[in-house]
């Protein structure tokens, strides 16, 4: 399992799974045995799926728990990443994806009910479909790209904190 596929691919390995969870949580969250077991089993199964060296498969699972650094981290004296904006950014991404989800559900409901009426309004239906497509694109940006970027930011802040305290040797 790798959380830095760039490094893994550059070093060269027989096979790997790239995990989109924070470093330290590759197999999942604490106290979530079902999630952990699934991550482990799928990684083991990939041994049979990957047929050529240095192939890295990307795990589809996203890290969805915010804030991820609410507690003191590192057994040393660091209090962990506490940047004022880091946690609100994570919460905003989460809130935004929730709102988009609700809107997606509302649009899909409208489409479903409009499609069942005796004389469907084709213009309205096609407008709804267009809107659904655009909202899906928006969701992909928020839920995929933004989440990935946020995870990298959080990991970098942790490193910066340590470096600032002279702990990152």
């Amino acid at each position: 399992m790798s959380v830095q596929p760039h490094i893994t691919a550059s070093v060269g390995v027989p096979r790997a799974i790239s995990i989109k969870f924070p470093a330290g949580n590759q197999v999942g969250e604490s106290g979530k045995p079902i999630q952990q077991k699934r991550m482990l089993l799928e990684a083991l199964e990939s041994i049979y799926t990957i047929k050529s060296p240095n192939t890295i498969l990307e795990s589809p699972y996203k890290w969805r728990r915010f804030p991820i650094n609410e507690e003191a981290v590192y057994t040393g004296s660091s209090s962990g990443p506490q940047h004022l904006n880091a946690i609100p950014i994570g919460l905003s991404i989460d809130e935004l994806s929730d709102k988009i989800s609700s809107y997606q559900a509302w649009l899909n409901d409208k489409l479903a009910s409009e499609s069942t009426v005796a004389t469907p309004n084709e213009g309205y239906i096609s407008g709804l479909k267009m809107q659904i497509e655009r909202v899906d694109d928006l969701m992909a940006i928020v839920d995929d790209t933004a989440l990935d970027q946020y995870r990298e930011i959080i990991n970098s802040i942790a490193t910066l904190e340590l470096r600032g305290q002279g702990k990152f040797v």
Partner: protein, 172 residues
């Protein structure tokens, strides 16, 4: 089950980002040696998972509570390894590593070293056998010469001696 997994590829943009990162790392850690595998050994599994012996390996700095912690003060890292017996009570494991956030794994070691989950997979018959020993190192080694020349061959012999078919690795 892995249908929703895509192949990861190095894009030009990511390659550029990675090169910048590597340059910075080389500036921060004097004596950093960028060692890469000139040859990649690839073995196709000869038996199903349910007949295989699976071992754990981690660079996440995991060790027995009672064992000597890894050296996290040295600017040269620590290339030694620790042995973890398979029947260990997972609450008796500790982490000594300062390069990643292990607050979650301190509460539940399975976040990074899934020993309890592997036992469950064996109980369910999905995994054949668990190797009697797991091994652990602390991943910070700017100059991996000793790690590559001494630690890794020693560990490879040990895993071989234990009849390991599949080595599962997590990083820290």
């Amino acid at each position: 089950m892995l249908n929703n997994y895509n192949k990861w590829t190095f894009t030009t943009e990511e390659q550029a980002k990675f090169n910048t990162w590597l340059e910075r790392i080389n500036n921060i850690h004097t004596g950093n040696i960028d060692l890469r595998n000139s040859e990649i050994h690839f073995t196709t599994p000869s038996k199903p998972l349910s007949d295989s012996t699976v071992a754990l390996f981690t660079t996440a700095g995991v060790h027995l509570d009672s064992d000597e912690p890894f050296d996290i003060e040295s600017h040269h890292g620590d290339w030694t390894f620790r042995t973890i017996p398979v029947d260990v009570d997972s609450s008796n494991l500790a982490i000594t590593h300062t390069h990643y956030n292990h607050v979650e794994a301190d509460k539940d070691i399975n976040c990074i070293f899934p020993i309890d989950r592997l036992r469950e997979l064996q109980e369910e018959g999905l995994v054949g056998r668990i190797s009697p020993h797991a091994y652990s190192i602390m991943g910070f080694n700017p100059d991996p010469t000793n790690l590559v020349n001494e630690t890794i061959p020693a560990l490879a012999s040990r895993y071989k001696l234990d009849g390991v078919d599949i080595l599962f690795m997590t990083c820290g």
